[in-house]
Point group: C2
Chain length 163, copies 2
DNA sequence: TTTGAAAGACGATCGGA
DNA sequence: TCCGATCGTCTTTCAAA
């Protein structure tokens, strides 16, 4: 008998359905969720608790219109840093993560070391962010920025098959 | 007198605080939210409704651990398509948006036309996604993929100052 | 694990300030 | 616009299967 359980993310069909529903609408009531899945509310609550405790559900977040946050311009910034040591990587990552303009930081393999996703007021602020703030960091050896015209993201992700 | 209201996203201090709280935890009760902000629950409810109606709050989504969804490998794929017409752009965007591997599609200005953010089971599946599915599309003239080692994203975004 | 029942907490409405 | 009272619904717990 193989021990697969513990705090492992073993997600069955019912868990998957809960995950799907809560990705689509995190604020629907536990009763409505239970009704959709054909189970008792108490069962549903226990499932959601278990998923949360196991780390499968990491949180619930409101999605806010970026223009309402005065962030009409988005861009990607691909960055190369040197030397490519853990200390430099972690320091850079922590620094940019704390900047209010930065939505996300990605540590990459390959040509570029980082990709930053930023959202700012307008092109002037993008430029000043690049020139006045980012380029001040000495570990950066190059960066390229690409303005984002449109963004479409999939809020509801399904588990992929094992294959 | 200038007309600024209507269905415009005029967000005051209280709205900002609500937005901040609901980005951090979308499932907290209306009462708890009201208590944190020092307002009556009925007031809080009305504010949240107004923000939703005005399109400032776009939805509430559970954040799910990608490894639990059997998506241990993430990557960016920068794509160039030709001809660069609206028809081609929209067709490509709609096609990739519907692929289960794709978390997000970005339409870019500059060197590349698109950036795809994908999450798949492993490197083998990334390879087969690129070779067997993506490269089948005739409008693609080139693509480069970068594996993502780490991703850190900021769930709570503040409004930026007007300046 | 799942369930139904019970108790307490919450969402939603509305009249008044 | 905000608030407090009210009603109906919901979350949460728990003992049992």
């Amino acid at each position: 008998m193989v021990e697969i359980s513990g705090i492992m993310p073993v997600v069955d069909e019912l868990d998957s359905a809960i995950i799907r529903e809560l990705q689509a609408d995190a604020r629907q009531s536990n009763r409505e969720l239970a009704r959709k899945l054909g189970i008792a509310p108490s069962t549903c609550l226990e499932r959601v608790r278990s998923l949360t405790h196991r780390g499968v559900i990491r949180g619930y977040h409101a999605e806010i219109d970026l223009t309402a946050l005065n962030r009409g311009v988005q861009a990607f910034i691909a960055v190369q840093v040197r030397p490519l040591s853990r200390a430099v990587i972690d320091a850079f990552k922590d620094a940019v993560r704390g900047m209010p303009e930065v939505l996300a930081v990605f540590v990459l393999a390959g040509g570029d070391d980082f990709q930053l996703h930023v959202a700012v007021q307008d092109l002037d602020h993008l430029h000043s962010f690049l020139v006045d703030r980012l380029s001040k960091r000495r570990e950066i050896v190059s960066f390229r920025s690409s303005v984002i015209y449109q963004r479409e993201h999939n809020n509801v992700l399904s588990p992929l098959p094992a294959d």
